[in-house]
Symmetry: D5
Subunit: 126 residues, 10 copies
């Protein structure tokens, strides 16, 4: 079976993320970014996976800059990684650079064999 | 009336299920698998039933492997079993192999005589 | 104005309902039946009413048999009865034969003069 | 199996239909009436059938009066008649009282055993 | 600017409302009426307003009769009144004649200048 | 039965319509205006009717001015007139002031007794 | 890889089909049956396939009986056959028993690897 | 890269807002205004941003007048401001003129690079 | 009434458009670009207008470059121009730089006073 | 600006395509494959593009094998190519291996800067 060659996981992907200062740090308001075009590679079959990511958080001192978020997520394009792991990895990386009050990452992955999957992971208290 | 000959219930179906280790066991995150193409046979009429299954859980040490889940569910294709029983049976089998923190199985069965049914069964605390 | 002649309410309709034993009485799981093709007659105008019924319950010892439920509901086809009363009557009859932990009957009736109605009645604790 | 007792087909149903004069007989304009709540009885099983009827026509000298159309269609409520036949019967009756330039009757009948049917019959040239 | 001449508010509109006895006063069930075709006049511009009203309540001793509700609401057709006030006025009038356990009136008004409004007012405890 | 008192048809309504010069008279392009909030009164029952009008045309020397079209259509608010007639009347009035290459008026009227109607009338060749 | 054992194609499946006489043979009207729950087996992988079939025809002397059509289609449940072939086979079998003026069979098969297929085959002239 | 020249933020925009007295100050009812056509300019790229704003509040003594709200929001059309900041700025300005019991501003901004954002900020207790 | 100050129409806007060579000039294939975020200003009221533009064409020697198309369309943001004129102006400008086999511009403008408009203009033969 | 490094176009991609014999060559039937997860790279910006491809054809002697089609399309994942060119290239490659009676390839590409594109190319006569 033909496979897309997934590269090894690059733990340094987090350095692509940039932030800007939260102008309203005293108000606990909600920020939600939805990414319709997330794609990575299945580590077992080498086949591409597709999904929709929803990243929700309450900022403390920093907000995520959107272009850098886009480039960070594109860096998974040729990486072999399971649904459960990619969702948790993105949560860990974003928590490291933002140190938010609360954050949730939801990944809704597309249909494979009549079966589609959703993974939801969270950090902190809402 | 013509009938599909349903086979007797095979209690050993559970052995088709495979698992892999949960890489983030310290985080209580949610995993949802939706199966659009579930089909079994009505034990009373011998007619095929169709439905959508939604399996949601919070893993403890193990996650369900998706291909094995697909084969496990296909094994009901020619089995005669009631809506209420198949939903609870799948919950029991998955709880046995995963020992999850929490799990819910929802079966939404298709229209028969202007009437369609949904069964929701759960295990553990969310 | 031409009227469909509604018959008087037949209180014995409840005897059409059949039950089967709940195989998982120790688990409090949810059973939902949706009936898209419910019809009765308006007692005031003699005109036909149309609606969608959703019957949800948590079984104790018994589950409702689906064909008998269909025949029971068809028995309202030529009966003159108000929305509020038919919804509560069906709840009373089902509670009598099932003695469930919890049950809810919702009737969504179709548009009349730019106005449509929904009635929701429940029994027991969810 | 419990059955709703269908009455025999009443060929005199056509006399329920009333008309009014077309005020714009020189313009060939299109009139479409959609009936969401048509119901009759299956002559084979005695079970109720449900459907949506769409009646389209170009009037010559007469238009159909809507209340009379409603009562005419309600008269099929307890009559046992096949999909193919009821669609053609309604077309025949309406053509008789309206003598239209063109008319089409479409019946879209609801799901039975995972299968739903549409019948389309027409008269004259569009 | 051309205006529809709105009539002054008629406080006696409440007498159009009729009720019938609640047959199940011991059960706290929910009644919801949705009105798709509500229209009144803007008191500032004299232009017509359109909206969808949803009236939900738990009856005590009385239920609202639907035809009288329709006529009551039609009486606002040529009356000049603000969104916030018409929603609260209808709630006050219905509470006066029904004395319900709980009632909510929601008005969803249509788009004006790229902007649409929803008003929700309630009485009693749910 | 309570009725909204419809005024007699005012044949002079056409003078409310204003036009502006078509800047591209040599190109046969299509102009479509959809009116979501049309309302008039049923001449038989005195009850309000609601509908969506779609006015499509290819201009010759003149285009219809939108505010004047809105006021013209609002003038039907309290007028008693049948669906078939109001659709044809609007077509006649617009053809008179615009003298278009082609015009079509479609009226889609809301549900009455489970039945809704669409009327389509046209002028000239497309 | 686990496979459902497909049986060999049974060419005698056509004898399951029953017909009834067309009551309106002089009118060329359209009959459409949509089957939401068609399932067969992929001959290459042994995996189940799912699809929606739409069967449209203009009858000559005979119409297809719906229960027999349902049983005929269920007979493909465990048969290994390609999308292109099953669609054409059903067309051939129905043409043989009905000898229609015109017939079209459309199969819309579900998603496999982000890819879904539709096959449309026809007989005669519409 | 071509840019629309954004003007500097005008802190005096709040003076465009007008209010009217709340006629039902003793009832805590909910007012929701949805603005489908909000547009501003990205301060980083000079490119236009588009979004849907939903403003919900429980009034104390004053309600926002809708035309003034429309003009206030149009004043952001050529202003360079981040999503997070515009949402919070509108909340601050409205709270200043209304002094409401509770208020929430939600901004849903359109897709940029396969990614869309929602910001939700609130004041007071619901 | 507060107005956004529309600038005079700049006839030189066409110079913002860039093209690239069509690599398949011998095949008459269809190219469609849909622009969800078009906005200009009403020349009569000074209020902003919003719309969706669909530009379809069959290229001869040149294709439109997408970024330049985006900047060209953004140049209408503060310009006062009628729906009918902006649609035809864009068609004229694109025809000038592309000299296509065929082109159509469709503008669907948003709701104003319960009324929304669509303008469709074309060049050449399809 | 960060870029995914697109590989040069590989003209030998066509050798990934496999075919099987058409079992019904005498019938001109329609085959449609829809691919929801097509992705390539923009040759100008190095950013990923996403789209939905619809491939429709009437076979002569050969049909396309679905797994090989999937691998062929995945081979564009890291290739830099314009929308217009990728659509025409796929058409050329498929025509080469299938020699069909007729074929159409439609590519619907996702939103970029509020603008999305559709390209439709065809071969032969339908």
């Amino acid at each position: 079976m033909k496979k897309i060659n997934p590269v090894k996981t690059d733990p340094g992907k987090v350095r692509l993320l940039e932030t800007f200062d939260n102008s309203f740090p005293d108000r606990k308001y909600l920020i939600i970014h939805r990414v319709n075009e997330f794609t990575s590679v299945c580590p077992k079959t080498g086949q591409p996976d597709f999904g929709v990511l929803t990243i929700s958080y309450i900022a403390k001192k920093k907000c995520i800059e959107l272009k850098s978020l886009k480039y960070y997520l594109q860096a998974f394009r040729n990486e072999g990684i399971f649904y459960e792991n990619v969702t948790n990895r993105i949560l860990d990386d974003l928590v490291k650079v933002l140190n938010p009050v609360w954050m949730e990452v939801k990944g809704e992955y597309s249909v494979r064999g009549g079966l589609n999957s959703t993974i939801v992971a969270a950090y902190g208290k809402k």
